[in-house]
């Protein structure tokens, strides 16, 4: 099935709704067309093209609802999927948390995430980009392993209360790891864009190559508390654990870092340094997102943490109505305000510290304090008197991002980055943090 335009989606979804005999009916459609290419040991090892479309029908009788999905789009199949969702709804137990569907909503019109030229990128363009990356690795006698994927996606929804929404985007994600032949140096780079033409796989590979070459002959220094400069890629994997927990229900239920004794929460409290401002905004041109949530609620700019104070928590419509709080959907991209300094300027202003270019295998140790563990990877460097002095061996850390954001020294200029853990895209600054806790050394390169 091809990628549907807004009007094509409207016609198809209206046709599906026409089959409905339920009290309420909602139809969501998601389509994607794209491909990927993977390489290692300086050669391509897998690549593929993937095209999928899925239509989901939710039917409800009172508080009983059923969901059915299909990927066939002839009239008989469309009617069948509606009937199936209705059968399931009749068989389902009443869900006390079921909420009546939303009526028409005001969604900002946005085409920021769509690039027409990127929609036609195929196997040849992907192979060409990888060839640029391989040219760098071969010229420098390094070993490259990387992954490139791009797609065009769209989503649309319509329900029996008159709500209709549509969004489309193009996306590209690239990552590369360069290793020295002796296995003693390793460097990494990753980029995410909506516009494929912004990708410069050769330049990104140069960055990874420079890190690989400069991380050879790493020295061991004692674990302990250090001032660190975290590149945005490292910031992402730590802060996304905060972003994911800015949820009203888990806070109210007493089982999140946002909970306080006696059933209270930290909403409205000074949680971190007053220079911390975190928000989401689907209309940000550097990180455009969908202007509506999967249930049709509008996605607007939300200030989650302002001057270090938690200003908002997301909530399902059920939880919001039960508690009498705003029903803010979870964000689909997060932005942290920063300063104007480049990474190089942050390093220049550091007397003693450690530059962390990437973190890896992040896991929650204690959800009560958001304590996380993980390791540095692909280039860690000792800074002295404003200069990178030498590469150091990797560390394991045990640190809470909440404690970390209270130990904030300086923020650099934000840039778009991708989490190596979740693949989520964020706009984040490099951060300089004091007393970051490294607990042991790792021999890994």
């Amino acid at each position: 099935m091809p990628i549907l335009t807004k009007e094509q989606a409207r016609v198809l979804l209206a046709k599906v709704l026409n089959y409905s005999k339920a009290d309420e009916c909602e139809v969501n459609i998601d389509g994607s067309d794209g491909g990927n290419i993977r390489y290692a040991r300086n050669a391509v090892n897998t690549s593929g093209a993937i095209s999928t479309t899925s239509l989901v029908v939710t039917s409800a009788f009172g508080k009983k609802s059923g969901v059915a999905t299909i990927n066939e789009f002839d009239d008989a199949s469309l009617e069948k999927v509606v009937r199936r969702s209705e059968e399931l709804a009749k068989l389902a137990p009443e869900n006390p948390e079921y909420m009546q569907l939303l009526g028409p909503q005001e969604h900002s019109a946005s085409t920021l995430a769509f690039s027409a030229a990127s929609a036609s990128v195929g196997p040849k363009e992907r192979a060409d980009a990888v060839a640029q990356s391989l040219n760098v690795s071969k010229a420098k006698d390094l070993s490259a392993a990387g992954f490139l994927e791009n797609n065009i996606v769209y989503s649309a929804m319509m329900n029996s209360r008159g709500l209709f929404a549509y969004h489309t985007s193009t996306n590209v994600a690239f990552s590369v790891t360069m290793r020295t032949p002796d296995g003693k140096g390793s460097g990494y780079a990753t980029r995410g864009y909506n516009d494929f033409s912004k990708l410069n796989a050769g330049a990104d590979t140069e960055i990874a190559a420079a890190k690989a070459l400069s991380s050879v002959t790493a020295r061991a220094i004692e674990p302990g508390k250090y001032t660190v400069i975290l590149e945005p890629t490292a910031v992402a994997v730590l802060l996304e654990n905060v972003f994911g927990d800015l949820d009203a229900r888990s806070a109210d239920e007493g089982r999140s870092f946002m909970s306080k004794p006696g059933g209270k929460t930290r909403l409205g409290e000074q949680l971190v340094d007053e220079r911390v401002n975190i928000y989401s905004d689907p209309l940000n041109p550097d990180l455009p997102g969908t202007t509506w949530a999967p249930d049709g609620r509008p996605q607007k700019r939300v200030n989650w943490i302002e001057k270090g104070i938690v200003k908002n928590l997301s909530a399902s419509r059920y939880w919001a109505s039960k508690k009498g709080i705003p029903a803010i959907p979870p964000p689909n991209g997060m932005i942290m305000e920063g300063g104007t300094k480049s990474l190089a300027e942050l390093i220049k202003g550091t007397e003693k510290g450690i530059l962390v270019t990437r973190l890896w295998y992040i896991r929650s140790v204690d959800p009560q304090t958001l304590l996380l563990t993980g390791l540095t990877r692909d280039g860690t460097f000792y800074i002295e008197n404003g200069e990178i002095k030498f590469p150091i061996k990797n560390f394991r850390f045990n640190e809470s991002p909440i404690i970390m954001l209270n130990n904030l020294e300086e923020l650099g200029k934000p840039e778009r980055t991708i989490s190596v853990e979740s693949s989520g895209n964020y706009l984040l600054p490099p951060l300089k943090i004091r007393d970051f806790t490294f607990t042991s050394l790792s021999d890994a390169v």
């Binding site: 040991r41 089982r255 958001l370 607990t439 021999d443």
Partner: protein
């Protein structure tokens, strides 16, 4: 907290999930693809026709949150042309679409061959003709009415709430892979694979202090049918840490003790950091085995194919070639086994038509072998693949995945009670918790579910805020005793992730309770706000 639940397919009715496609019909489809690829110049082709069924029942306290039945049906075609791999997949099952997909796979292989450095070398594999393999289950979980499953979970939740839980989520995951494999080696292999995982997550809160603790189920995901939930007395092991389960699982009983133990955790003493002798239960040790032995002995990691994502391995080829790399103590014997009954990785044949078997990976503490597939076998001097190839769906390309990797039980008679009795200063750890390991598998940190302090051979109380950090080689060399066969149990992972785009696989790890001396334990307690 709940893991995210991957849903791979389209929703279908329960009745439809019980239908089984005739292998003869699948052979016709497979031959269309094999012929189409050959005509376009493929020198090797394999075809995987897969029907992947999942059923998930999800509840929370007194509510059924979701019942999901999904089906994914289609064909994946892999070829070698101009010395390169190519792959394409489709869910359009008419002959024309399948032939076009085979042709696309050949075209992609030819496109990739311009970036080729060395042609694919595929280990020879005999054809098996038309054969089949079925998981030896006793009760097909898909035949059990959904209501019976939902009622069980609601009873589990009720039992936990009555015993002090503030919140509980419980889930039943059930998987049936109906896989048909055909190749130009003249194999036509039909397989029926079943997996099940009942689990829960209990939370207890001290409202005055605001502290909360959780206790996850001590079940294991298994390559079994619904019979896994029918535990009899012989499947229960009574220990100082409560009742543990061997081969079968009593979910209701575990929910009751889990709620009580979550309460005990709220009152537990915080650990004093330092060196301890650890006594690790199989419900915990499986994850340490998975991360520190299973992954580093995967040959694709050793060779660098995972360098950009999961990482490489410290178990480099020179260490294996030396024949004397001291991975662990003499007590450490670790095998790879794709045949163990009830395990998640058990199949008759892997996803490139290789008959599965069992082999040593660590023998008397020494690294002796890896886990390889057909295009890697020649690198380690093998004439044949070890059968470790797997794809998580018809639409995913198969690649090297972990076999069941298990620590063999000790040869001398030793019970858990005797193991604990011999420890002066130690911690007995049950259940898996937080886990993290570096990209070459040297440095790791593990938490757990239940921690009991051992002093002079006796359990003296519960501890909290415990995590241990070690280096893989140092850790396995500190292994001083493994309980005997009577205590051998399987743990495992239902959703092990690897590759780009990431694929999941399910794998078991067996062990008996084992002791590790002088391991570094840290205190994970912190304060915010």
């Amino acid at each position: 907290m709940l893991p995210s639940i991957p849903v791979w397919g389209n929703e279908i009715s329960v009745e439809k999930s019980l239908e089984y496609t005739d292998p003869a019909a699948k052979k016709i489809i497979a031959d269309v693809a094999l012929n189409a690829a050959r005509v376009k110049g493929a020198t090797y082709t394999d075809v995987r026709i897969g029907r992947y069924l999942n059923q998930y029942v999800v509840t929370r306290e007194d509510k059924v949150e979701n019942i999901v039945n999904t089906e994914s049906y289609g064909v994946g075609i892999r070829v070698i042309a101009n010395g390169s791999w190519g792959f394409a997949a489709t869910d359009k099952m008419d002959k024309d679409s399948i032939a076009k997909t085979a042709e696309l796979a050949v075209a992609i292989a030819k496109e990739n061959s311009r970036l080729l450095t060395e042609p694919v070398q595929l280990a020879a594999q005999q054809g098996f003709g038309e054969v089949s393999w079925k998981a030896p289950i006793e009760k097909n979980a898909f035949e059990v009415p959904v209501k019976e499953k939902a009622d069980l979970l609601l009873a589990v939740n009720d039992a936990a709430m009555k015993n002090g839980a503030d919140y509980i989520s419980s889930i039943l995951f059930m998987v049936n892979e109906q896989k048909y494999f055909a190749s130009t080696d003249n194999s036509y292999i039909d397989q029926d694979i079943h997996r099940i995982w009942p689990t829960f997550y209990i939370t207890r809160i001290n409202k005055e202090t605001g502290k909360f603790e959780s206790r996850d189920a001590l079940s294991s995901p298994m390559g079994m049918g619904y019979e896994y939930l029918d535990a009899r007395p012989e499947h229960k092991i009574h220990t100082a840490g409560g009742i543990l389960y061997k081969g079968r699982y009593d979910m209701l009983e575990d929910a009751k003790q889990g709620a009580l133990q979550a309460g005990d955790k709220l009152k537990a003493k915080t650990v004093e950091p330092g060196k301890y002798d650890l006594v690790l239960d199989p419900s915990h040790l499986w994850l340490t085995i998975h991360e520190s032995c299973g992954h580093p002995t995967e040959l694709d990691r050793v060779l660098g194919y995972e360098a950009n994502f999961a990482g490489t391995s410290f178990l480099t080829l020179d260490k294996w070639k030396s024949g004397k790399f001291n991975y662990g103590s003499k007590e450490v014997n670790i095998t790879a086994d794709k045949t163990e009954k009830g395990s998640l990785g058990a199949v008759g044949y892997d996803d490139e038509g290789v008959k599965c078997g069992k082999w040593d990976v660590i023998k008397d503490g020494v690294l002796v072998n890896y886990q390889a597939i057909r295009d890697q076998a020649h690198i380690v001097g093998l004439e044949q693949s070890q059968g470790c190839c797997y794809a998580d769906n018809w639409s995913s390309v198969q690649f090297q995945r972990m076999a069941n990797i298990s620590l063999q039980p000790g040869k001398k008679e030793l019970t858990v009670a005797e193991q604990i009795k011999n420890v002066e200063k130690g911690i007995y750890i049950i259940g898996s918790g937080s886990f993290s390991i570096d990209q070459q598998r040297y440095n790791f940190q593990f938490g757990g579910q239940l921690f009991y302090e051992i002093k002079n051979g006796k359990i003296v109380g519960m501890l909290k805020d415990v995590a241990y950090q070690s280096n893989t080689q140092e850790f396995w060399n500190s292994c001083s005793a493994v309980c005997d066969q009577r205590d051998y149990r399987l743990g495992g992972s239902f959703f092990d992730g690897k590759g780009q785009p990431m694929q999941t696989s399910a794998v078991s790890h067996g062990s008996a309770t084992a002791r590790f001396n002088g391991v570094n334990v840290i205190n994970t307690g912190r304060k915010i706000g």
